[in-house]
């Protein structure tokens, strides 16, 4: 155990050993695979028609939003050029399926069905459709382990979307909560504020939604406010996650030191 913590080579051995775990997760995942198969194959015609209608409506809506996004992105790049900062590159993503969760309720970890073969690396950000989920901590040949942002050992730099205020969101071991550490009591932060990743830790890309502030407690006796937020990503409900291959970007040292 000591060796596992301290030595590089031991971690590599450990990663190799994780191939032993693959069949176990494969078998443990069978029930949900079967029910998923049943759901997608045994359906009434009406449901499919209804789904189809709903999805095409959604597609039109999303397309409209994307149109707006393209112009916004262009504008964003122009503004960034004005600020003389490096432009955000497009992140490419890979879809992975969750095949297991950590059996220990104290460890918020999930196992996804992609590994070294797909080019995953330790520290890679993981997102779902709604927000940031976590990062990869262990890459095996066919499966990898993801540490979720709500794990007590996880912290990530965020900023308030509204005013750019920077902070650090820490997990507390609850799926519906992260807390912001050391927020001064006079800070401009309100319930409903969206927290996005700030990219300062150089691990997560900038601008992915992380959480929404749900509670701000300002106790005059304490030097810091207690700020609680609920993660945007469906941490314990998603089935598919996206692995982000963010291209190495230079430290963004522009005028975002507001707040």
């Amino acid at each position: 155990m000591y060796a596992g913590q301290r030595f590089e080579w031991f971690q590599q051995v450990n990663a190799k050993l994780s191939i032993v775990a693959t069949p176990f997760y494969w078998v443990a995942d069978m029930p949900s695979k079967i029910s998923g198969w049943g759901e997608s194959n045994i359906r009434s015609r009406e449901t499919i028609i209804k789904d189809n209608e709903r999805l095409s409506a959604e597609t039109i809506l999303l397309k409209a939003q994307v149109q707006k996004l393209a112009s916004l992105e262009a504008e964003n790049v122009r503004l960034r050029e004005l600020l003389n900062s490096s432009a955000i590159l497009d992140d490419s993503v890979l879809v992975a399926e969750i095949i297991g969760v950590s059996p220990d309720p104290l460890h918020h970890q999930i196992i996804v069905n992609k590994g070294e073969k797909d080019g995953l690396y330790v520290g890679q950000p993981v997102i779902d459709a709604l927000g940031l989920m976590g990062q990869i901590i262990d890459v095996g040949a066919y499966q990898s382990r993801v540490l979720l942002i709500t794990d007590p050992s996880h912290a990530l730099p965020v900023q308030v979307n509204r005013n750019g205020l920077r902070s650090v969101a820490e997990g507390v071991g609850l799926y519906h909560q992260v807390i912001l550490q050391h927020v001064a009591a006079t800070t401009d932060i309100k319930i409903g504020d969206l927290l996005v990743s700030s990219g300062l830790g150089q691990r997560f890309p900038v601008g992915y939604p992380v959480a929404t502030v749900t509670e701000v407690i300002i106790d005059p006796g304490q030097s810091f406010a207690t700020v609680k937020a609920s993660p945007s990503a469906l941490l314990n409900r998603s089935r598919h996650v996206l692995l982000v291959f963010s291209h190495r970007r230079e430290e963004i040292e522009d005028g975002r030191q507001s707040g």
Partner: protein, 162 residues
């Protein structure tokens, strides 16, 4: 199935592997804290019934496998299960005489110890449980013990594992 006398050791391996598999089976959120320590239970059963074959070595190997599969620090479950197997080896003559309820009580203590050791090791690596809920599996395992031991005994009788 062909029943061949005396060579049913594969059933031990299968039950242990199945237990490791069950130990990572996704659980609903409200049941997460109460997941029974199924690997330890199966191991205790085999140690009690076949102490001349199943001992600390097997416990160590199974624990190591569980560590690899569950992604816990390598050696955590191996150590905890070895201690459990050692205690079961000391106690097996008495345990065989006990009624199911008495056995369940001993299982409660052994699995509580297992959980405690695992928790201590996790504390060393920085994960501290906020409360004593991590001992809940001991209680649930003890409650499940009579069922599991009857089931495993049936398997053992059917396949002549000895």
């Amino acid at each position: 199935m062909v029943v061949n006398q005396g060579s049913g050791h594969w059933i031990i391996i299968i039950t242990l592997l199945a237990a490791v598999m069950l130990s990572i089976l996704p659980m609903p959120l409200w049941l997460q804290w109460g997941r029974p320590a199924i690997v330890a239970m199966v191991l205790i059963y085999w140690v009690i019934s076949l102490p001349e074959h199943i001992g600390i070595g097997v416990a160590w190997a199974v624990g190591l496998l569980q560590d690899i599969v569950a992604g816990t620090p390598l050696g955590q479950n191996a150590l905890a299960l070895s201690v459990v197997a050692y205690l079961a080896l000391i106690l097996y003559q008495r345990l065989r005489m006990f009624t199911p309820v008495q056995q369940a009580f001993v299982v409660f203590v052994l699995i509580g110890l297992n959980q405690l050791l695992c928790h201590w090791i996790q504390t060393l690596t920085g994960t501290v449980s906020p409360n004593l809920l991590f001992l809940l599996p001991a209680l649930i395992s003890a409650l499940l013990w009579p069922v599991l031991s009857v089931f495993l005994r049936l398997l053992r009788r059917n396949y002549y594992v000895n």
